[in-house]
């Protein structure tokens, strides 16, 4: 082999090997990034889980900071990357979480006995704009400390009064009929939900109604404040299913009970099973009457 040929060969060899090593490094860097993300996802899931499990009593509010919180709530599950966490004993209301602070609030859902726990999740980058007077009633139900709202809520009269930073997400909650220019402007700025006369309505980007839900409890309205359509749709079905489950359970229990030798009528529980909430007060009265007769109560 001549010297010149050897030199050319050397260069080709160096370039080929260099390219292989370079490609390997690039590939490895990507893989390692992926692995690091997976590790962070598991850790984040764990820390969010610890925080949510810490919410044991009714009306507790908790905040977590120190890490970047980025995850979704899909069909009742908390989804972080490839990992997810299902909750059997609670229903999670929220949308996409993406911020440096995670805010969580727990409320017992009773109809009239405890059905399940609701957890409302938000981050420090989401602003809630309440439009309309009834918003005050809902706002008063939300947690606050010394009069300062824990969630970032602002009551406004018109959408153009809404002020938020570019890196913030806006949710517009109309407590009056949302239509026309106001609705279009709100949709161009963020997500919109309308809560009027115990009806919860979600809109698509064109301002068309996606679906209207009957709200049979104020906590459902609060759920709509925090949730996007998909999550609310899932939760709404899950809640109805759970109301039916609990009504069946309490009915079975009632059939096993006696008060002063007589069986107890489970009629009102049948109503609850049929999602007829008009006799809720009757059920409460029946329960109280049993207590007055020194009998065991239905719930």
């Amino acid at each position: 082999m001549k010297k010149a040929q050897a030199e050319v060969f050397n260069w080709i060899f160096v370039i080929v090997i260099g390219a292989v090593v370079f490609l390997f490094f690039v590939g490895f860097a990507y893989k390692y990034k992926d692995l690091s993300e997976q590790r962070n996802d598991v850790r984040l899931l764990r820390s969010v889980d610890v925080m949510l499990e810490g919410l044991k009593s009714d009306n507790l509010y908790n905040e977590a900071t120190g890490v970047k919180f980025k995850f979704n709530i899909e069909d009742g599950d908390l989804v972080i990357g490839d990992f997810y966490r299902s909750f059997n004993d609670k229903i999670i209301f929220g949308s996409e979480i993406d911020g440096n602070e995670l805010k969580a609030w727990i409320k017992e859902f009773k109809m009239p006995y405890k059905i399940t726990n609701f957890i409302f999740l938000s981050d420090d980058k989401t602003k809630y704009f309440f439009i309309g007077n009834e918003g005050e009633t809902i706002k008063d139900l939300l947690p606050n400390e010394n009069g300062i709202d824990r969630f970032d809520i602002e009551a406004i009269s018109f959408v153009n009064e809404a002020i938020f930073e570019n890196n913030e997400k806006a949710r517009f909650i109309f407590f009056t009929n949302a239509n026309g220019d106001e609705l279009r402007e709100a949709l161009s700025k963020g997500e919109v939900v309308e809560i009027v006369n115990n009806k919860i309505t979600y809109f698509d980007q064109n301002g068309d109604i996606i679906e209207t839900f009957e709200s049979f409890n104020d906590l459902l309205k609060i759920g709509a404040v925090f949730s996007n359509y998909r999550n609310f749709r899932y939760n709404y079905d899950a809640i109805k299913k759970q109301i039916k489950n609990m009504a069946t359970l309490y009915k079975e229990r009632t059939l096993l009970m006696k008060c002063n030798g007589a069986f107890i009528s489970p009629t009102y529980l049948d109503d609850l099973y049929s999602l007829n909430f008009n006799t809720l007060n009757d059920l409460e009265r029946q329960n109280q009457a049993l207590r007055n007769q020194n009998c065991k109560t239905i719930y």
């Binding site: 050897a6 692995l35 590790r39 850790r43 006696k258 207590r291």
Partner: protein
């Protein structure tokens, strides 16, 4: 063979060995990282499983209540009522679990209670795990008709 060719072959060999070692180290490192992530996930699942011992007896489906206020005990009438549910929702929820409550004091009776709680002491909520993880803890069982409290345990098993 000329000296130049020999040198080139030597360089190729050195590079080849270097690359093989390099790849091996990277593969080992990659596997090690994957395993540690899986280990972390396993630990997390184990933690979650251990938490079930607290979650299950506190579910409104089983927990005692009086005029809508929850009390720290497990309502035996609810356990019996739950058995009659045969509900798809709970079948799915407990699909890989075995869960049962059992009276241990003043009497221990491993006989399963089906439609009443006489001459028996075991209330099976789900029976879908043969072996695997197992955790158990004490509970207070409340018999509403007799207004009696007894000591029991809850046992939870989950397929690995």
């Amino acid at each position: 063979m000329k000296k130049g060719s020999l040198k080139i072959q030597e360089t190729i060999m050195v590079m080849f060995v270097f690359i093989v070692i390099f790849f091996l180290v990277m593969i080992i490192f990659y596997r090690f990282t994957i395993n540690s992530i899986k280990e972390e996930e396993r630990n997390y699942k184990l933690e979650r499983f251990n938490l079930m011992i607290e979650i299950i007896p506190n579910m409104p489906e089983f927990k005692c209540s009086e005029l809508g206020k929850e009390i720290d005990c497990v309502d035996v009438l609810k356990l019996l009522g739950f058995k009659n549910l045969n509900n798809e929702y709970y079948n799915e929820m407990f699909k890989d679990k075995t869960i049962y409550f059992e009276e241990i004091y003043p009497e221990e009776n491993g006989q399963e209670c089906v439609s009443n709680y006489f001459n028996c002491g075991k209330f099976i909520i789900a029976d879908n795990a043969e072996a695997g993880l197992r955790v158990s803890g004490p509970v207070v069982l409340y018999y509403a008709n007799e207004d009696e409290y007894k000591i029991g345990k809850v046992v939870i098993q989950e397929e690995k």
